[in-house]
């Protein structure tokens, strides 16, 4: 039963994406635009094949993923903790909360000079930028999740003696979980974006660097190939990590 559903889903998805690619290739063949303006799927496929054969894409993916996982992990922990704190404290909300919201609007690129200044030419500088990118999204979402917690749950819990960290860990956190997960998903994409920006810092082997090289060299098929790799990783992470968690949470909460 479950596997049938899964197969259907998969089939639908495959058809959808196959159709997208077919349209794209047809348009490319039709000669509407020159290959150097926007590459054809075949051209991109070649670039992909070459990239994986000579290992640059593999190294790129590995390097970026490592940075991303560490940066995202740090952001998730700090973001959730600070979101929980800000969401429940009026004073924190009014001070740090508004600071967070303000900082959130700063593009990652603003952090580059500061990161260089504080951390020099190191992985730390790159992590800092990634963290600054993802952290604030997760904080904001967690904070909103906390604020949107139905007061009845809080009352019931406090009434049963829940206080301090137990109230946070066992009530506020799980109650806010559906929104926190949304925040984590957004944070993940913020982290990607920031990483791309951070990999501009200096030559660093990551995917962002490959993307930039493609752009610098006006090699559109490299740009699109890297974009596809990024999208693929995004989708895999979503399907393998976020979607199952989301589904489980929704089922549990009775939201399905």
């Amino acid at each position: 039963m479950v596997s049938r559903v899964f197969q259907n889903t998969l089939a639908r998805k495959l058809i959808f994406f196959a159709a997208l690619i077919a349209v794209w290739q047809t348009l490319a063949w039709s000669g509407w635009w020159a290959e150097y303006i926007f590459p054809s799927p075949l051209g991109v496929a070649q670039t992909l094949a070459r990239g994986f054969q000579n290992g640059t894409f593999v190294v790129g993916i590995a390097t970026s993923m490592q940075r991303l996982l560490i940066g995202f992990g740090i952001s998730a922990i700090i973001g959730i903790l600070s979101g929980l704190a800000i969401g429940r404290s009026k004073v924190l909300d009014e001070t740090i909360g508004s600071l967070v919201l303000g900082l959130q609007t700063l593009p990652s690129i603003c952090w580059l000079p500061l990161a260089l200044l504080w951390f020099g030419l190191s992985e730390t500088a790159m992590l800092f930028v990634v963290v600054m990118g993802a952290l604030l999204a997760i904080t904001t979402a967690t904070e909103a999740g906390v604020k949107n917690t139905p007061p009845l749950y809080l009352r019931a819990a406090r009434n049963l003696g829940a206080r301090g960290w137990k109230l946070y860990a066992l009530v506020i956190f799980p109650a806010a979980l559906p929104e926190i997960i949304t925040g984590m998903k957004l944070g993940w994409s913020f982290a990607w974006r920031s990483l791309m920006a951070a990999e501009l810092l200096y030559v660093s082997l990551g995917l962002g660097h490959l993307l930039m090289m493609g752009r610098e060299l006006n090699d559109m098929s490299q740009v699109v190939a890297v974009m596809l790799v990024i999208i693929a990783i995004g989708l895999v992470v979503d399907r393998v990590i976020f979607a199952p968690i989301e589904t489980r949470v929704r089922e549990r909460w009775g939201l399905i």
Partner: protein, 273 residues
């Protein structure tokens, strides 16, 4: 534990102006006493329980528990909410264990206690179910098990048996009386069922319609265990009923429903629900 409610007034501010839900309530509940609160819908019964629980602050006046002014909730005063207020992210079993965890009962003991109370409410088979898989009455029973498992000194029960069929409710009446006789908890019990109040309570406190004031307090001296069908219970219930009815009619000041009064007149001999 002794509860002293002194001049408790609660006014809600809302965009449509202020609404006085409770007006200068004075009430002492002795340690181990079982007090039932009766009153028309919206007269402030839930509000009073919330204030005793420390979940809401009174606008004026105060509640003391063992002489100490209540400022916040504590596991010594556990409430069963009118809507079950179960945690959807926990299984039925974990919901019942929640309060035990809060007061630091060790893990193995939690299992045993939780299971015992789930059995008591006839939901042993559902311990692994999710909250949304329960029927309305089942949810309410889980909430009852959760509160009883926490074994507080003061139990605040807000229409806990409202969603139950008569039979299940009668069984739970008996359970509650047994628990109370054995542990001598202080219980404040809100109900809209007059006979339920008479069967369970040492005293029945009757509220007037909004703004809620204490209208009359009946002391129920009947010997326990009480039978819901005994003449004594029925008679007392009838007496209290008459008291309440008058008040309901007073609250129906609406001309459009004035015919109700006529209708009511011919039902004075009405039995208690």
């Amino acid at each position: 534990m002794k509860l002293e409610i002194r001049g408790v007034t609660k006014t809600f501010q809302s965009k449509n102006g202020a609404l006085t839900a409770l007006d200068a309530i004075d009430l002492d509940v002795q340690p181990g006493e079982f007090v039932c609160l009766l009153g028309p819908s919206g007269c402030g019964k839930s509000t009073l329980l919330n204030i005793i629980a420390g979940l809401d602050a009174p606008t004026r006046g105060q509640v003391r528990v063992e002489g100490k002014i209540v400022t916040r909730p504590g596991p010594d005063r556990v409430m069963i909410f009118q809507s079950a207020a179960l945690f959807p992210w926990l299984s039925v079993f974990d919901n019942v264990k929640f309060g035990l965890n809060m007061i630091g009962v060790p893990k193995p003991a939690r299992q045993v206690i939780a299971r015992k109370y789930l059995q008591m409410v006839h939901l042993a088979d559902f311990e692994r179910a999710s909250v949304h898989e329960l029927s309305g009455g089942m949810k309410q029973r889980v909430a009852i098990a959760r509160a009883l498992a926490a074994d507080p000194d003061v139990l605040l029960m807000d229409e806990p048996f409202g969603a139950l069929d008569a039979q299940t409710r009668d069984l739970l009446h008996d359970e509650l009386q047994t628990i109370w006789t054995e542990t001598r908890k202080t219980i404040v019990f809100v109900t809209h069922n007059v006979r339920e109040a008479v069967v369970l309570g040492d005293r029945v406190v009757v509220f007037s319609a909004r703004p809620g004031r204490i209208k009359k307090i009946f002391t129920i001296d009947l010997p326990r265990p009480r039978q819901i069908e005994s003449y004594a219970v029925v008679d007392l219930a009838r007496e209290i009923m008459a008291e309440l009815k008058e008040d309901v009619l007073a609250s129906v000041h609406d001309p459009q429903v004035s015919w109700l009064q006529g209708m009511e007149a011919q039902r004075v001999g009405d039995d208690v629900l």
